[in-house]
């Protein structure tokens, strides 16, 4: 057993040896197939140990149901004998639940994924996260490789927020944030709420960085329909209720477009906002080895291929995004993490004050 269940809250010491052991995996083919053939007889120890554990529990608020299910199915196909229990709920709900569990001494969750990096900053502070470097982390885009110097949490997704629109109703969609709030879009805009959605919160913070509170006031003047999650913009556009979405989910909109729905995205010239989906293994995870195996898988080629298929940006420089987009060709901006907590709180408060 490589990683025995932590009996105390001390962080597990990282040694070169343990990292090497953890990352010594059987070679994986990067062939045409989405799913690799089951791992051959000479599996690495991690898989064996994980198999002994037999299962893991993932709390995920990053991906929509179908995508996370696809990821999990691929994981199970690759590492047979390990069952995955998925709890898919909104990020904030998962975090609250996890805090309740911790408060009550319950260890149910093995690995957590949410769209709010602040969740992990807090959890790290109270020593609830385990340090682990997933295999192939070096293949991750440089900007998002070391979001935590102590490696207690990692990037699981690049959640891009942009403008979406209905091609029929808005044949000439806004091409920038400023155009959106200053243009003739009154009564036509849909937007989520920073109080509910981590992605929308990061977008609001970014807009305030760029344009101050004036942005929010201009947005309010456009009388937008305010929902909850950023996904609501897609709903409103597909329903025909609104024709343009602000702080909209890039990946999800494109996936809907690919499914034939009448929706498209417009990448703002003044930067799409990039928010990270973050994942971590919990210090008190009941199935620590399986959790680490899963962390490896999130960083794997197979996983990035699934992401690409679902129009998510990939986590590997050697796996391209769908439709030829790349991190370099998309104009993006990410909020700095320092002081983020306060800025989010302020952003939410200002939002409530100006938009109700």
């Amino acid at each position: 057993m490589l990683w025995s269940e932590a009996k105390d809250t001390d962080m597990v010491k990282i040694t070169r040896r343990s990292v090497l052991q953890g990352t010594a995996a059987a070679s994986l083919s990067t062939g045409a197939g989405m799913f690799s053939r089951p791992v051959a007889a000479q599996e690495d120890e991690l898989y064996q140990a994980a198999k002994k554990e037999g299962r893991l529990t993932r709390y995920d608020g990053i991906f929509e149901q179908k995508t996370i299910e696809a990821i999990i199915e691929a994981f199970k196909a690759k590492y047979s004998g390990i069952d995955v229990q998925l709890l898919r709920q909104p990020s904030q709900t998962l975090y609250t639940r996890l805090r309740l569990e911790i408060q009550n001494g319950v260890a149910e969750c093995d690995t957590l994924g949410t769209t709010n990096i602040l969740h992990f900053v807090e959890l790290k502070k109270i020593n609830e996260l385990a340090a682990y470097v997933p295999k192939d982390l070096d293949k991750a885009p440089a900007a998002f490789r070391d979001i935590d110097p102590d490696h207690t949490f990692h990037t699981a997704a690049l959640s891009v927020t942009c403008i979406n629109y209905s091609p029929q109703k808005a044949p000439k969609p806004p091409t920038s944030w400023t155009e959106l709030v200053e243009g003739t879009w009154a009564g036509k805009i849909s937007v989520g709420s920073p109080a509910v959605s981590g992605d929308v919160a990061s977008w609001v913070v970014a807009m305030r960085h760029k344009y101050g509170d004036k942005f929010l006031k201009d947005l309010a003047a456009q009388k937008p329909k305010i929902g909850g999650s950023s996904v609501d913009t897609v709903t409103d556009i597909l329903a025909g209720e609104r024709s343009v979405g602000a702080g909209a989910p890039f990946s999800y909109s494109l996936a809907q477009k690919a499914a034939g729905q009448p929706i498209d995205v417009s990448m703002p010239t003044d930067d799409a906002i990039l928010n990270l989906g973050v994942t971590a293994v919990l210090a008190k995870a009941p199935h620590p080895n399986a959790s680490r195996l899963f962390a490896n898988f999130l960083q794997s080629v197979e996983c990035s291929q699934i992401l690409a298929k679902a129009f998510w940006p990939t986590l590997r420089s050697d796996v391209p995004w769908a439709e030829g987009r790349t991190l370099e060709t998309v104009k993006w901006y990410r909020n700095p993490v320092d002081g983020l907590a306060a800025e989010v709180a302020e952003g939410v408060a200002k939002w409530k004050e100006i938009l109700g």
């Binding site: 149901q65 909104p90 569990e101 709903t235 597909l238």
Partner: protein, 590 residues
């Protein structure tokens, strides 16, 4: 010479209720039953509520004792206004649901209106629908820009404004009410079913017209049922989450439940503040219960008196078809329109494209039923938990109601209060209360089916208790006394006489719990784990991810599955009753 048991010398007491000690010595069975009820209520109700109260007095950040949570609530208009909004929403929903439900119940239970079984079945279908699904469907129907009612309106009249805007308080009241009507309908119809027809005959012989009889005789006699359904609908309205979240939040109207969601989703989470925030609701509902007690007080509502006479239906002549039209209004707006919309979407490849021949598929059903293992688990779980908690609720509710109604000991009314308390706690807070109460040793139920069944039982016990109480109020004590007088003890009387007489009504009470459990979302949110997931949370997940086709397909599946159970219970009920209780059952609501 035989003398009864001798108890130590003591002054005589007033002859209303036996002193508890006397009871214990004279009647061990009764004592055990009472003890079981008390322990169950302690575990199901007092403990979680206790934790909620305890939490409300602590600070979220530091964990120390404080009254600041209450202070914040009372001093902030942004926190007080949602309470007012909830009150308005609740009262309006209650009034509307009684307004529709009572006449419908009377028409179906007492008159010869045609197609009564259809009205019953459709109203029951409305019951089965999770309210947030109803809200979603109604958004498709009546959203100001895209709702198809408005599209048709604009086409017909060329107007630029919508005829219906579902994103409004009126919209929320409407949607909340149409899904609360089934409560009023079921409860009042059950009461009217049992009513001896000569009570109305008496009025008719005094040449009171049909309408007058209904208003002056029937309705007042059904008053306990009507008040019960008013209160239930009020509470339903006040604890609604999905409807105000989807219909009111976009227009910046907050209610208590949506505010609570904010607290739970805040960073850091304000769980303790949320606990304190429910207290005003408790106060409001306590007032309602008190008012009900004063109004119903000592009036006589006995309608099953053991003087059985067959039920006769009132002939409403030329009003039959208009009555049917009125009765079908609620099923139309609660079932037919929304489900037509849901089915249309569930059959679309891409729902944004609308209903087109090239956009039709059964794939989403295939996905939901065959390719998604979560669905199968969730369906089974939903049914098992609903069945389990419904059964527990009915048993516990019936015995508690008996203890309270028959005043088995002084202060028995407190048991009734305890059994009724959870109803006013919003599901999400109860969820956290159960979490706190049953996650630590010695009672570590987190992650099991047991905690969900317990939480659901606690949530809906008030309904079962109120329903059983209404049934009991209608059973004459003489029926029980007659049994005692021929030698049956209290327990035997309850088992052979009281319970069988309640049985048919209890079956509809079972459904009154079973169905809401299958559609209950808020209670489940913090208590489900992947292996104990239920349909409502699964559907909500899909909705959260914007996958409406899956949402609609799953909702239709949920409807079908629940409906099969309902049909099953109807079958059981008719088998149970057979010729024996036809005299009791003519036109039963189940």
């Amino acid at each position: 010479m035989s003398v009864g048991p001798v108890i130590a010398r003591r002054a005589p007491v007033a002859g209303i209720a036996d002193p508890l000690l006397d009871s214990v010595r004279l009647n061990p069975v009764r004592a055990i039953a009472v003890a079981i009820v008390i322990v169950s209520l302690l575990l199901l109700v007092l403990r979680p509520l206790g934790y909620i109260a305890y939490n409300s007095l602590h600070d979220d950040l530091s964990g120390s004792w404080t009254l600041a949570n209450y202070g914040r609530i009372l001093s902030s208009t942004t926190l007080l206004r949602p309470i007012l909004n909830s009150l308005v929403l609740g009262l309006a929903i209650a009034a509307t649901s009684v307004f529709f439900g009572v006449p419908m119940a009377w028409l179906v239970a007492r008159t010869n209106m045609p197609a009564r079984e259809w009205v019953k079945a459709l109203t029951l279908t409305a019951f089965v629908t999770p309210t947030f699904i109803g809200a979603l469907a109604w958004i498709m129907i009546a959203a100001p820009n895209s709702g198809w009612v408005n599209l048709i309106w604009r086409n017909l009249t060329g107007a630029s404004w919508p005829v219906l805007d579902i994103y409004s308080m009126g919209g929320a009241i409407f949607v909340g009410a149409i899904y609360a009507v089934p409560f009023a309908f079921t409860i009042v119809a059950a009461a009217l079913d049992e009513m001896a027809v000569e009570l109305e005959d008496a009025a008719t012989t005094l040449s009171s017209g049909t309408l007058r009889t209904m208003l002056r005789i029937t309705l007042p006699l059904a008053a306990p049922a009507i008040y019960a359904s008013f209160i239930l609908s009020f509470i339903q309205g006040v604890t609604l989450f999905g409807v105000p979240a989807f219909l009111l939040t976009p227009v910046r109207i907050s209610v208590v439940t949506t505010k609570l969601a904010e607290f739970y989703q805040a960073f850091p989470p304000e769980v303790f503040l949320a606990a304190a925030y429910c207290v005003p609701l408790l106060g409001l509902t306590a007032i309602l219960f008190y008012v009900r007690k004063r109004l119903l007080g000592r009036k006589q509502f006995v309608v099953i008196s053991g003087k059985a006479r067959g039920s006769r239906r009132i002939d409403i002549g030329r009003w039959r078809w208009p009555a049917l039209a009125i009765s079908l209004f609620v099923p139309l707006v609660a079932v037919i329109l929304p489900y037509a919309t849901l089915i249309a979407i569930s059959l679309s490849k891409a729902w944004g494209l609308g209903l087109r021949p090239d956009n039709l598929t059964l794939d989403w059903y295939a996905y939901a039923l065959f390719r998604n293992s979560q669905t199968r688990t969730a369906i089974v779980n939903s049914l098992v938990y609903a069945g389990g908690s419904a059964t527990l609720c009915i048993l516990l509710g019936a015995i508690t109601a008996y203890i309270v109604e028959r005043r088995l000991f002084r202060g028995a009314a407190w048991l009734g209060g305890l059994a009724s308390a959870p109803i006013v706690i919003p599901g999400i807070v109860l969820s956290v209360g159960f979490f706190a109460a049953y996650t630590q040793p010695p009672l570590r139920l987190y992650g099991t089916a047991a905690i969900l069944i317990a939480a659901f039982t606690a949530t809906f016990l008030p309904i079962a208790y109120a329903h059983a109480g209404t049934l009991l109020k209608g059973i004459s004590r003489d029926l029980e006394r007659a049994a005692r007088a021929v030698g049956a003890g209290e327990a035997r009387t309850f088992v052979s006489i009281t319970f069988p007489l309640m049985r048919v009504g209890l079956l509809s009470g079972w459904l009154l719990v079973f169905i809401p459990v299958t559609r209950e979302l808020s209670v489940a949110i913090f208590l489900v784990t992947p292996s104990t997931n239920v349909m409502a949370t699964l559907i909500y997940n899909f909705q959260d991810g914007g996958n409406y086709e899956a949402v609609c397909a799953l909702s239709v599946v949920l409807l079908i599955v629940t409906f099969m159970v309902v049909l099953g219970t109807r079958y059981v009920s008719t088998r149970l009753s057979s010729p024996r209780a036809q005299s009791l059952l003519q036109g039963s609501a189940t």
